[in-house]
């Protein structure tokens, strides 16, 4: 459970930092008057959707941290045979990076009010993401053809389950991306569009980050790190 405890510690630090800005030491029973009368009474200036995405990313992060925790506990059992990772995953990873870069590019374009580049960036990002998903399916097929079925070893089971969970999150993101692209197509004004593009880009970067962490786990690169974490807690 070290991964999830670590994740929760990070969340706790963020929450603690935020709370420290909220005048928790004030004495509200003595303070009368409207907000502006007090020093440092910040109002949060982020739009609601951005905060909503931030909270959602915390939930998604917690979900994957739990998958990683389960993985690192299960891999210690004697029946674990590490799965040979198909080479296709490297290609997929590169495509996912491209997808993230394209969306970042779209976001930068949105900030300089360049509608044409925004549409190109969004479409490129979407196409790359779909390519990634197709690549993942092909990787599954290769594994199955090589005899690595979902139930034949816990390492295989984890591989299929975790990649499926990640893929489903990406599909959910594609729905949002599709709606944003449709908005751009219809020619919605830039200030309205900018936020949507930014949120898509943030979500994509986050999923890329998670994918890199999962890749490290599945290929065994992070085994030593996992081991250190485990020893830390035992």
């Amino acid at each position: 459970m070290s991964a999830i405890v670590l994740f929760m510690a990070v969340i706790a630090v963020i929450a603690g930092w935020w709370l420290s800005q909220q005048r928790l030491m004030s004495k509200p029973w003595l303070e009368e008057g409207a907000l502006g009368d007090f020093p440092a009474a910040h109002e949060m200036t982020w739009p609601a959707a951005k905060i909503g995405l931030g909270v959602f990313l915390a939930v998604v992060g917690s979900l994957f941290a739990l998958f990683i925790s389960a993985y690192s506990m299960r891999m210690n059992m004697t029946d674990w045979r590490t799965l040979p990772v198909p080479g296709l995953l490297w290609f997929n990873t590169a495509v996912l990076v491209l997808s993230s870069v394209a969306l970042q590019w779209a976001y930068v374009a949105a900030r300089r009010d360049d509608m044409e580049d925004v549409v190109i960036g969004l479409c490129a990002g979407g196409v790359a993401a779909v390519t990634f998903l197709v690549g993942q399916l092909l990787a599954w097929q290769q594994l199955r053809a090589a005899g690595y079925f979902v139930a034949s070893n816990p390492s295989n089971s984890f591989f299929y389950m975790i990649t499926a969970a990640h893929g489903l999150h990406l599909i959910g993101g594609l729905v949002a991306l599709g709606r944003t692209t449709a908005k751009a197509w219809r020619g919605v004004e830039m200030p309205q569009l900018r936020l949507s593009v930014e949120l898509c880009a943030i979500y994509w970067h986050f999923l890329l980050l998670i994918w890199l962490a999962l890749l490290g786990l599945l290929t065994g690169w992070t085994d030593e790190f996992v081991d250190i974490c485990r020893r830390l807690l035992t």
């Binding site: 909220q22 029973w29 008057g33 389960a70 299960r74 059992m77 979902v150 139930a151 089971s157």
Partner: protein
């Protein structure tokens, strides 16, 4: 009170609100059924939770009939008994209490108490309710599928949860897990709303430290739920894989009916870790909203500011954080390393400190207060007493050496029913008596309410106090018939019959309550906008019940904290949060 220069406060113009941001229902369907108004969604959540909760109540009757009079009711066999306890536990903890506190009270109270027009993502909020309803329907459908609902116990421990010996192995367990997954998806949608609304949609002047403790409790509990429910999600998905695809996440090598099963190597303890990483925060997900609500009830009905407001807020936050590092105290008998047991016993005992601070502050709020023994106040007092009782037995069970012999006895059952069954339900009932006038414009009947309180309160004690004793004797839980054993004196059977009769009576009292809800809706005394003379914003709405958008044209501006009761020198014994001056400046007096 410290002297405050009351008339130094300047009035602030209310915030402008763009008309386009408001949600306007266009037809009967979008007004009452597919509504995006948080108040309607709250009532939908509450009614659905109550309906499925009634099923769980009936299940508890059936269980008690079997335990009190074993052998008399031939239609309850051992398998059905297990199915009853499983469904009773799961429904009460997740589909009733969690949904009612967060989906019900959260939706109704957060926007009103922080001075918002609605939740920030109304469409997602609506979706949250419909997914919750789907989860409830999937759960209820298990009563009608072949093999019936699962009988794995509410903790669903593998490997037995998916083995053939357990009732509901075909369909029951699969639908249960599917229903949980749906519930979590639906809850996440709602939870995002509650958190972001508190963060983002507070009205002018509503700083975090001016929020009523109800909002603090629901807010913190929602954050915890958002972070803890994924653990149940992961556990459910992995168990579905084990059950449907034959993987071995949790399943060790097993021989069933002389046949080697296809499973091997899995770890049932892994499931327990995941389950309790959700399961322990869940206790506080239910308790923190109750803590918050009860603080407000006590303050209003004792006409006194809450004692130690800051400390109450810090305690809520501290409990929320600590509750994530105590989960393994549910697993002392799983064979864990003794040092782990020591660690988790320590954290468990530490969490009693902020909890005790809250109890002291409630009592000190009551101290020399102008206590009105209204029905909400009675339930609030009932909560404090019950919670202290249940909490103290929790300290026993938090210690490894005490827990090991008491593990899996009726003592544990009595403990958690006191602390997270009866106590939160007391708050739910008190809160309904308190806010029903705002939701309907009519008061609940007082005489029926007092009858309901006394039967429920005394009855609950008569049920669960003897149960502690039965547990200390060593009577195990989850047994459909304890039979004759040397260590169980025959008087236990009499006591069990007594408990069962009390359970029937307490259940009957809840029917009186439901009748009261229905009757008062049509015939209750009109309440006016602020019958309890309370300070918080939900009582200051221009209409009762509040209309769409809550506040009419202008949002309220908040000038003070939520607990200005009995302020010396003020003309009334309460000052609403949106009132700029405590005392009216006298005509002709110097400005």
């Amino acid at each position: 009170m410290v002297d405050v220069p009351y008339d130094a406060v300047t009035e602030v113009p209310p915030a402008e609100v763009a008309e386009v941001d408001l949600y306007h229902p266009r037809s009967w369907w979008t007004r009452y059924v597919f509504s995006q108004d948080a108040k309607v969604i709250a009532i939908q959540y509450s009614l659905t939770a109550t309906a499925i909760g009634l099923v769980a109540l009936v299940l508890s009757w059936l269980m008690r009939l079997q335990l009190g009079f074993p052998g008399t009711f031939s239609f309850i066999d051992a398998n059905q008994y297990l199915q009853f306890i499983t469904m009773h536990g799961m429904i009460m903890v997740i589909y009733l209490l969690t949904a009612l506190f967060l989906g019900g009270f959260g939706n109704y109270l957060i926007p009103l108490m922080v001075g918002a027009r609605d939740m920030v993502f109304p469409y997602v909020n609506m979706l949250s309710y419909w997914i919750y309803l789907l989860a409830v329907l999937v759960l209820a459908s298990t009563f009608f599928v072949p093999g019936g609902p699962t009988g794995a116990g509410w903790t669903l421990y593998p490997p037995q949860a998916i083995l053939a010996g357990t009732p509901g192995q075909d369909w029951g367990i699969v639908l249960m897990l599917a229903s949980l997954i749906l519930f979590i998806i639906g809850f996440t949608m709602g939870g995002l709303n509650y958190v972001v609304t508190v963060l983002q949609a507070r009205t002018r002047g509503m700083t975090l430290m001016r929020m009523p403790l109800t909002v603090w409790g629901i807010f913190t509990a929602t954050i915890m739920a958002l972070l803890a429910f994924p653990a149940l999600f992961v556990a459910s998905v992995m168990m579905l894989f084990d059950r449907l695809l034959g993987t071995s996440f949790f399943m060790p090598a097993l021989v069933e009916m002389g046949q080697q099963m296809k499973y091997g190597g899995g770890s049932p303890i892994l499931f327990q870790h995941l389950f309790w990483f959700f399961g322990h925060p869940e206790v506080y997900i239910v308790a923190l909203p109750a803590f918050g609500i009860v603080s407000d009830l006590i303050s209003v009905h004792a006409r006194k500011n809450i004692f130690g407001y800051r400390m109450m807020v810090w305690a809520i936050v501290a409990i929320g954080a600590l509750s994530f590092i105590v989960w393994a105290h549910h697993m002392y008998v799983s064979g864990m390393h003794p040092k782990f047991g020591f660690f988790f016993a320590t954290t468990t005992l530490i969490i009693a400190v902020p909890t005790a601070i809250k109890v002291y502050n409630w009592v000190l709020t009551l101290w020399r207060g102008d206590i009105h023994l209204t029905v909400p106040m009675l339930f609030a007092l009932g909560f404090i007493i019950t919670f202290v009782n249940g909490g103290l037995t929790g300290l026993f069970l938090g210690n490894v050496v005490v827990d090991v012999p008491l593990s899996d006895t009726m003592f544990v059952v009595a403990h958690f029913h006191m602390v997270m069954g009866v106590a939160p339900i007391m708050v739910v009932l008190g809160a309904i008596y308190h806010w029903y006038p705002k939701m309907t414009g009519r008061m609940l009947n007082d005489a029926l309410g007092k009858f309901h309180f006394w039967v429920t309160f005394l009855g609950a004690y008569l049920i669960f106090f003897p149960m502690h004793y039965i547990g200390l004797l060593g009577v195990p839980r989850r047994y459909h018939d304890i039979g004759e054993a040397a260590f169980i004196p025959s008087s236990t059977h009499t006591l069990n019959a007594f408990i069962s009769i009390m359970a029937l009576i307490v259940g009957f009292a809840q029917m009186v309550f439901l009748f009261n809800l229905a009757w008062s809706y049509f015939k209750g005394r009109p309440s006016g906008g602020n019958p309890w003379r309370a300070t918080t914003l939900e009582w200051q709405t221009p209409e009762t019940p509040p209309g769409h958008g809550n506040w009419g044209k202008e949002l309220p501006v908040v000038y003070r904290w939520a607990y200005d009761y009995s302020v010396p020198g003020a003309p009334q014994d309460f000052i609403p949060q949106n009132q700029p001056r405590a005392t009216p400046v006298l005509q002709g007096a110097a400005p």
